[in-house]
Subunit: 189 residues, 2 copies
């Protein structure tokens, strides 16, 4: 997606050969017009998939997932990272390891909002090791729902999460795939 790649080149900050910060339009400040374009693009790519729910993970995934759900006219569910005290329903759980925050995180979705008739599109901002996507896919499986695919804004293709999911037959659509981060520069695949 050309508009996104330009934005990454113009505003992305290469912190190290592993870490790219896109805080100015995706992870802290959000560009709503770009999010709308991204949602429209995901909706186009998964237009034939009969999606009934978009699933993402709080917090950074919510903006992208919301715009995708709006474009597809289906509800969005965001997995929560901690069981809130007001949540007393039966729930599905996944566990993910965050390498950025150096901790394990349990994520959960109430059983009220995913069921075995659902066709689920998993959406996330970043894909690197694939931990977050796998946690969400685990939840889709627990619900007995059908995974139609995974939509990612920025894939760090130099880490193995994306290709390992593809090897398992998961449809992964990434709008920008980064081949490497080197000497402060960003190289797309």
């Amino acid at each position: 997606m050309e508009l996104l790649k330009q934005k990454i080149l113009n505003e992305g900050k290469v912190i190290s050969d592993q870490i790219l910060k896109v805080d100015s339009f995706l992870n802290h400040q959000i560009d709503p017009v770009l999010m709308e374009a991204i949602g429209t693009e995901f909706a186009k790519r998964f237009a034939q998939s009969k999606v009934t729910k978009v699933l993402t993970l709080e917090a950074s995934g919510i903006a992208v997932a919301l715009m995708t759900g709006l474009a597809l006219r289906v509800p969005v569910v965001f997995a929560k990272k901690k069981r809130p005290s007001t949540l007393t329903d039966t729930a599905y759980f996944g566990r993910i390891h965050s390498f950025t925050k150096e901790e394990d995180v349990d994520i959960m979705v109430s059983a009220n909002y995913l069921n075995n008739n659902d066709r689920v599109l998993v959406i996330d901002d970043f894909l690197a090791t694939g931990e977050a996507s796998r946690g969400m896919i685990e939840i889709v499986h627990q619900a007995g729902a059908t995974l139609v695919g995974v939509g990612i804004v920025i894939e760090k293709a130099f880490q193995d999460g994306g290709n390992s999911l593809r090897d398992e037959g998961v449809r992964v659509e990434s709008l920008a795939r980064i081949a490497k981060l080197e000497n402060g520069s960003i190289y797309f695949l």
Copy 2:
């Protein structure tokens, strides 16, 4: 906002005389079409306020804030609840007490995304004691920015947060104001 009130009456769950759950369209599952209508309504109410930034708090505020930012054509900034390891910038801080989660939470916004030229609309899903709004207002003040007002989806008007902010001269626009929760029923002001 009539559409919102109907949704609250149809899908809201009264957990106690203090707690209303709207997990089916706002806090866990999100209805993107309703969010769009809410964003349009806030944009209409603050159309004359020359808003340059929408500020909210992760995670539940993001969907509403994003749609408001889209309608106003301005960036959205979401305050983070924990300093991420990738954040090395100068930042503004606020502290809020979450009565739902029974804990104090520090919230922060990078100084890159708010400055003294900004005219900030604070957006949140709920207003009860006003703790979250006050934490965000503290951040607006630290940035030297101008607060144009606070937009709230659901105000628990039986708690004093909203009126105490209004008494201080803050413009608070709540789309649904709940007078009381009693015997499982919801009463609007």
